[in-house]
Amino acid sequence: MKTKGALVIALLVALIPLPLLVHSDFWLHFAIMTLYFALLGQAWNLLGGYGGQRSFGHAAFFGTGAYAAAMLQLDFGISPWAGLVLAGLLGAAAGALVGALSFRYGLRGSYFALVTLAFAEVFRIVADSVPFTGAGVGLQIPLRQSAANFQFADKAGFYAVILALTVLATGLAWWIENSRFGAALVAVRENENAARALGIDIDRTKLGAILISGALSGLAGSFYVQYYLYIDPRIAYGVEVSVAALLVPLIGGTGTVLGPLVGALALRTLNEVSGGLTGGAPGLNLVLYGALLIVILAFLPDGLVSLVTRLRRRHA
């Protein structure tokens, strides 16, 4: 489904004054988490939705960004703002590593999914064993609240940052829909042989997509560290992040600009509601995620955004 990308960006920009209207920390946290999931989901969507390279291990890029942000300020005293940029670059580098190896050997479909999952697991085990990542104890960022230190006393600051990052990711999705690179990427998803015959360098196209996707995941990782001031191998490279990254666009609608935003909103809402319903029993929200995914895949394989076109068709 085609969405009007400009409209989606305008919608996000209209969300800028939200903290002026909403003073409740609960709702601001909800908005931040929704945007953060949308960022992660959009990162996955650029590679998996538009490019058809469905990764099961986006934690590999997310975690690399998260550790980069944490270690750069703890060990090297680099400003977390510079760390944010470097986390994006290192996320892209992790993407390039995974992409170069798997695309070179023509891994597609389930094989690509398995290899990315394996990479994330290897990264997790390494992070769990080496001293400079704090091993299993994890890394704690000392609390020094100031805007210059990317630690805001007020949630509105974090809100502004994550909104900006989500606008960036959404803008990239919009660009993909309207650019030559995007046309090549979609062609590769639809049929690699035909794409090659029409002059598309499929390896480079996929590599470009995984670079962008890795960079955005790295940015999400860096944001996570600043928001929670803590990272450990399970959070950084655990399967939860990988699942969240793919669940968001699958539920919202893959290969669309709006999909990850809708998916993130749906998942976060479900998360809040289920928290109340299940009394916070651990793991039960995952059961609900699974059930929702099955329902979506069975009845709305193109995600929630396809509801609009379906309803319109019914009324036409």
Partner: protein, 245 residues
Amino acid sequence: MLEVAGITKSFGGLIAVSEASLSVREGSITALIGPNGAGKTTLFGIIAGFIPADRGAIWFAGKPILGVPAHKLARIGLVRTFQIVQPFAGLTVRENIAVGCQLRERSRVKALAEAAEVARRVGMDALIDQPAAGLTIAGRKRLELARALATRPRLLLLDEVMAGLNPTEIAELVPLVRAIRESGVTLLLTEHVMQAVMGLAEQVYVLNNGRIIADGPPAAIVADARVIEAYLGHGAAARLKGAHA
């Protein structure tokens, strides 16, 4: 424009193409015919950079191109279509063709506009916003052709564009192929239906069991005893002659 010399390719113990040589003159329509399984598609795949050859050489516009990957060949103007059509099924006809346009056109908007122009040329303008997945086989063959044309090729390799079409559909496609040549594109096409190419091609090569067994103008080819035997079996030429006498 295209020179193929001594191309050999085997898959395991099966020799698919053996010492095949042919040449395509600029501005011509050249046909490569042969019974099913003769090795036409393999030879095509080698010329277009999809399959590596074991031995031999290929020159396109004076440059050696054996080993050059397919996407680079497309950029210098050598583009193929597939016998088993390969549409971008999830995209519309316009979007399919636009992918071809984007080889030379950076702007997405211009590529989509140009795609409409190409669709009109191949007679698909009524279908332009249809999803490619919903096209008939004739429609898909046309789309295959349109997408390749959209890359503005110098040499177009058409792999059995007529196969699977009924006589009416073939009759509609023949003038289109002629028009493509008139627009300055050189054509090399494979076909196992002989009649389809006899009216089109100036030069015909016959491939059988991986070897080029005959070449010449269509009139000479249809009378060639080796060609008749390749299609109808050993001794067929002599029996046919006897029946005529």
